[in-house]
Symmetry: D2
Subunit: 362 residues, 4 copies
Amino acid sequence: MKNTFGTAVTLTLFGESHGAGVGAVLDGMAPGISVDEDFIRHQLSLRRPQGAISTPRRETDDFRIVSGVYKGKTTGTPIAILIPNENTQSGDYPEGMVRPGHADYTAQCKYHGFQDPRGGGHFSGRVTAALVAAGAVAIAALRSNEIYIGTHIRDLAGLEDRPFDDLTVDLETLDDLTFPVLDERMAERMREEILAAAEEGDSVGGTLETAVTGMPSGVGEPWFDSVESVLSHALFGVPAVKGVEFGEGFGFSRLRGSEANDALRVENGKVRHLTNRNGGVNGGITNGMPLLFRTVIRPTPTIHRPQASINLSTMENVTQLSGGRHDPAIVHRARPVVDSVTALVLCDLLAMRFGTDYIAQI
Amino acid sequence: MKNTFGTAVTLTLFGESHGAGVGAVLDGMAPGISVDEDFIRHQLSLRRPQGAISTPRRETDDFRIVSGVYKGKTTGTPIAILIPNENTQSGDYPEGMVRPGHADYTAQCKYHGFQDPRGGGHFSGRVTAALVAAGAVAIAALRSNEIYIGTHIRDLAGLEDRPFDDLTVDLETLDDLTFPVLDERMAERMREEILAAAEEGDSVGGTLETAVTGMPSGVGEPWFDSVESVLSHALFGVPAVKGVEFGEGFGFSRLRGSEANDALRVENGKVRHLTNRNGGVNGGITNGMPLLFRTVIRPTPTIHRPQASINLSTMENVTQLSGGRHDPAIVHRARPVVDSVTALVLCDLLAMRFGTDYIAQI
Amino acid sequence: MKNTFGTAVTLTLFGESHGAGVGAVLDGMAPGISVDEDFIRHQLSLRRPQGAISTPRRETDDFRIVSGVYKGKTTGTPIAILIPNENTQSGDYPEGMVRPGHADYTAQCKYHGFQDPRGGGHFSGRVTAALVAAGAVAIAALRSNEIYIGTHIRDLAGLEDRPFDDLTVDLETLDDLTFPVLDERMAERMREEILAAAEEGDSVGGTLETAVTGMPSGVGEPWFDSVESVLSHALFGVPAVKGVEFGEGFGFSRLRGSEANDALRVENGKVRHLTNRNGGVNGGITNGMPLLFRTVIRPTPTIHRPQASINLSTMENVTQLSGGRHDPAIVHRARPVVDSVTALVLCDLLAMRFGTDYIAQI
Amino acid sequence: MKNTFGTAVTLTLFGESHGAGVGAVLDGMAPGISVDEDFIRHQLSLRRPQGAISTPRRETDDFRIVSGVYKGKTTGTPIAILIPNENTQSGDYPEGMVRPGHADYTAQCKYHGFQDPRGGGHFSGRVTAALVAAGAVAIAALRSNEIYIGTHIRDLAGLEDRPFDDLTVDLETLDDLTFPVLDERMAERMREEILAAAEEGDSVGGTLETAVTGMPSGVGEPWFDSVESVLSHALFGVPAVKGVEFGEGFGFSRLRGSEANDALRVENGKVRHLTNRNGGVNGGITNGMPLLFRTVIRPTPTIHRPQASINLSTMENVTQLSGGRHDPAIVHRARPVVDSVTALVLCDLLAMRFGTDYIAQI
């Protein structure tokens, strides 16, 4: 479905970095869910460039809800959100230029030169602004069902945040952080590392770790619509994501079965797991424990250093030196994107399992 | 779509571990592709238990192509493959038993006790036999287009195989190996490690690394049908997969942008990348370099050690001690499954890009 | 999805007329639904050739439930049903032959000669046996929710049955009829007409009219997943269906708005419509009235009369004279197929609306 | 998919009659297709109210292409088109009002009162303006491949236009007609009939007949993605459509097989059919003959006559008397909608069959 994902709840993205704007159509959200424009603005602010550690490009992200919201609540029909572009500098992007690490070359292979090349066009991270705006509606809907999502920077340039501990406390803490690192001193060191990379005209990568509390058990499907399948599908749709792992993830390769299994107990007539090494999912289906997964964000491809590249118009080798604005790190800016994708997928899975009204508690 | 994946080329799985059999329906394969039953048998043999390092359960995997093949070639209409079960020991699975690490509990949450509990029922790895049989058709179709897939055990219980080097040579080497490790001595050490775990009634996990050569550039989609999205969706459908990463994957979190970008050159009028850190995909679309990704396989959940668990019939705490047959490792057995999933996804992506006849070279 | 339809509840068909067999995979049915093999047999008997008014081909339709049913109830995982073929006479179908009205020529255009030509191969109505077997499970599930489906021959070769009257009575009556015509005398005249056509080596067409009682209101979607959209999609998948209409259908073209609108009344706190000209659907969504629609079945294309045709092997004009067995009418045999398609679509729509457990009353 | 249809080429609709606007996202159109805004305007003008035979509501349909078009050509990425609303009179729609024949009641059943009730909200025919704008892009793309679509009013209120004759001439003729009736005198009589109904505060229905020339053979799928399935699915998504038939359609019920089959001949090495009773499709796949189908448009539900209805807020019986603007006929206004739906479906089918570049002749 290319720019659409989901089954019962679907999101469709459109727009380009330097075109008229970007937008999203969110279809299938239950009716009667409160839409708080301030919360959407707050989520968008988390995605926006932040001071010295971000691109100087200023984006106001003034959005407009075109449809699907009536008297402050979702109608149940498609919610279209439009975010016009402003402050674009198309002069930065000369014809035929291929920026290593970007989709410039692959876009050419697929679209034969008809793609909008300005600022990466439709491949630009700019499009995630629309995703975040739509995701805010889903996040709020989940919260009203006491399902909470939180993401921190698990590591960045080799610096590691502390692991999640008490999720109730940690997710609340994250809510107040624009730079989502649980260990304050580590947050400072990460920021310094970003600035150091920026000074060298370079960029850094990192890993986001996401937890979700409150998901009911029995959601998801065996085989090809496993919770991991559906979440990873959507997460890998986010530019710069190159890996997704659940629970112990790649760490499972060093564990024994006796360490990898989560023991179960009955307590007060309820089932609980003593550990959560499987990230809340067994056989593709939620087991009632928090969802836990990590998403790696590759370093921003745009850097201010000379790179060996090519010009597609002249088919000549060139030394590419980006003059445009750039982010020395997008890990923290990817956080609300990952939260949004997660929320949208969970709304979809819940609607598939419990029906289209479920999330609205109707 | 639960037990179906794909768009132009789709696979539907059915069956249970101890029922009448397992099977697959492969729909949308181009007409005129030769179907070699010996090659299907070969692929199935790679998935079957291997001597001391596997379960003693003997499976002959006699399959029957019910439809979709006429005069030795695909017709273009659905190919149904049925693999009857034999040698099942249902007595091994008492009622209400929850085996930690398995889907027993989540199946209960979803199916309310109506699921077939014998040997994991529909959640059993047994179902992958049908997937491998169908995948063999796709692998052969890709080979006739000079697209080759190869997977080795990148690491197992902390032991590391050498990385891929010359892919042409390495993929050929892997073709002849039932235990797919490029470094022979390391293969021996891994086997020993598996036996050591088996003696302790335990199991080990590992990471599979897959390379694909010959994929044309320009395949895949931006955003939600990225090559990574579609591949990971299908790979996470395989039981025991808990992480998928492309190119440098989670290693990107320690790289700088200047290290993470693949430089490009024009040589003899053709574009090539000097490195392949992005695993053959930029912006979700193939760039003409080999696809490169890793899939982690968690340790087999069935172990011969006492585990804290519950009985769902009595809702009591129990010490679960598996008396059934089990695999101390399934990493090597997951190899043909991963190859099959990869082949099916690539056939689908190629059909979506170039039309339904493409793979048949009609 | 070619041979699969549905979203939450899906059906996948496979098989050929003269191959090993035909089959279906029904995925997404709720767990815990009783599966009565006698009822499946009964439904299959309605589809089977009936005495003088049908082909002399004898089909026993011995089916085998391969998966998805455990202890007589659905497990919630895929239900695979296999119906082996027997009594096939492949000699009837010489190479290159194109039978007018059949898919022989279009199959060649699409499959380039690799299709199984014997008896129409995968295009054969034989495949509907698998559809009917799967549909029986859905019909039974709906009945346990007091949703009833009934279909009669509205007209055949110009002879008209009386319209539906008291649906409760009429649907019960239809249950007992193998030749589903409400007016007994008209049933006799229709049979005579079929025999008359048969004697001339010809065949007749007809219209099936279907009613569904008990569907809750509020099911279906505006725009592209309207109840009419989804039902017609599946119905047009049945071979020989060339038209579908709801309520007054094509009769609306002669009505005025004042005649076409269904007036509403509140009675005892409940809403009801005074008429049902719109066939139970407004704006794509059920309104609580019975669903009412008609499906036209074109005359069987196989006839025993010389027809101008071509040979695709020699690319010559020929006079085609079918020597094979044939049905002078399939209208009555299409009845259980239409009922099955309807039931499967309704199970899907209900699961999408109310969740995957709904139909099982869990 | 609710408000999205298509697989390789998809359309997503959003918007409400009296909200900020309506819009469409067209995804998957090949890159490099010229987008002529004048042609979009022309198509929109065919959908707009026409003089005395239409509602006096004035719509300028000023559209804005937000994304997906660069330098006058499609980029290959999503084309978003926004049409702001103006001249809305919300006062016409009091709370709780149910207009017979509309979706007011079913929307309540599905959306529990949260739907936008003004002017039918998302159920309004106003949304088809966005569909027509997107469809214009598809129509133009098909024309560059010499695939032409034309629709006339086959009958209206019992008055019949002449049938299609020479399609090349007839489709050209239709291109110039805003009231698409081939027989000029009949066009005049139909207009009179509409005015007569309007004077009585009533409305009329009619049947649209569509022909498509130039479609290659071998497109479409057996069973559930038959050309008839996919087209009817999309056509029934259009409000007011209550029946779809192909070729002889419901007329097949009175034909014999010998009359219903289309004979074939080889002429100059090419295959052609001597008649086109099956509307260009056999076994779900195009046979190279023109596509031919009819779509019935029920009379506009809004009329200026008292109707028995209910008020959903008070749950009381009322006599509903619409004071709003209304169309005594929408048959002619539905014409560009049907053409657009047809074009979008055909672009999708062609892309699925021949790949994503096919329509762009790249």
